[in-house]
């Protein structure tokens, strides 16, 4: 019970850091696979809620609902981290463009 909580909490850190630092095509594919797996699991839980209960028991979590909640929070954190990483990259690209444009205009004007 305690162990799975620690593992789940520890998962947040590499997920958050790793995803903000990697915005390439490989990590994009990895994220897509994770998303599809997660959607599949959620669909499966609608058809067979008992599966989550069984999985929760194996992992030592209180109930299937709790396990689903942990997974959802992890997926959400991952998405937020990725979006922030992407946003920072875009900011840097825009800054470079703005600087190049400003210097080009300045050299044309002088």
């Amino acid at each position: 019970m305690l162990l799975i909580r620690i593992i789940l909490v520890l998962l947040f850190v590499p997920a958050f850091v790793g995803i903000t630092r990697s915005v390439g095509s490989r990590s994009k594919a990895f994220r897509s696979i994770l998303l599809f797996v997660f959607i599949g699991l959620v669909a499966l839980s609608i058809l067979s809620p008992q599966l989550w209960e069984d999985a929760a028991q194996i992992l030592g979590v209180n109930s299937g609902v709790d396990l689903l909640l942990y997974g959802t929070v992890l997926a959400l954190m991952t998405h937020i981290a990725y979006s922030l990483g992407k946003f920072r990259l875009m900011e840097k690209r825009i800054a470079t463009l703005v600087q190049e444009l400003a210097l080009l205009k300045s050299s044309q004007g002088s």
């Binding site: 840097k92 800054a95 400003a102 300045s106």
Partner: protein, 232 residues
């Protein structure tokens, strides 16, 4: 005392870089004041929505315009790129647009840089008893940011986030800022260390006017600076 020829030579080979954002109310006076000593002043207008660019130009500054607001670090980086391409320029001064710096202090920094063969000279409001004028809360935040900078860069500076600095053009070419926001000041210090540049600190006065207080970094910005640095 430096000779007249030496003084002329120094100011003629110095370019002052002023990042500005919506400073139309004061920028003309700041440029005029600065140009009584330094003939070359470039203002990097960081996407202002007021008449900052016109005011700066009318006061005799060269103006480079960012199409959109990028941040003070980004504007400074543009200024460095601009000055770096000027073959006759040897020194660069970074100067805030809100009128809180004294041009005489800027000159003292360049002289110190020149006579001691340094790469970078930082201004400090905490040296030589000049910290008396700093508002108490501001002092706490500045000390905190200086502590964070020391922890992240291993460089011990008393006033890491002072916008007044002097550096050689070679140093400006090496200091390639990627932090566009206020955290650029800590990155600046870090890059000085990474590039093995010789540096020193010189006392300088900050004029805390009503205007500069209203335009200055909000105290909560200290937290933003730390977060920007941790999440780079």
């Amino acid at each position: 005392m430096m000779s007249h020829v030496g003084h002329e030579s120094i100011v003629e080979s110095t370019y002052c870089v002023i990042p500005m954002y919506n400073e139309g109310a004061v920028i003309a006076d700041v440029v005029r004041d600065l140009r009584t000593i330094f003939p070359h002043v470039v203002c990097v207008d960081d996407g202002s929505s007021d008449d900052s660019a016109y005011q700066a130009e009318s006061a005799g500054a060269t103006v480079i315009r960012h199409a959109v607001n990028v941040g003070q670090g980004g504007a400074l980086a543009t200024g460095f790129l601009f000055v770096g391409s000027r073959s006759t320029i040897r020194y660069v001064v970074t100067f805030d647009a809100d009128g809180q710096h004294d041009p005489q202090d800027a000159l003292a920094l360049v002289r110190h840089l020149h006579s001691n063969h340094l790469d970078v000279v930082f201004a400090s409001r905490f040296l030589a008893g000049r910290e008396q004028q700093i508002p108490r809360l501001k002092k706490v935040v500045l000390r905190f940011v200086a502590g964070v900078t020391r922890a992240l860069t291993d460089v011990s500076l008393s006033d890491a986030h002072n916008g007044l600095r002097a550096l050689t053009v070679d140093a400006a070419r090496k200091i390639q800022l990627s932090q566009n926001g206020m955290a650029h000041a800590t990155q600046f210090v870090s890059l000085v260390l990474q590039n093995g540049l010789k540096y020193d600190e010189v006392p300088a006065t900050i004029r805390y006017t009503t205007y500069s207080r209203s335009k200055g970094q909000p105290l909560l910005n200290g937290i933003n600076i730390v977060l920007d640095l941790l999440w780079r």
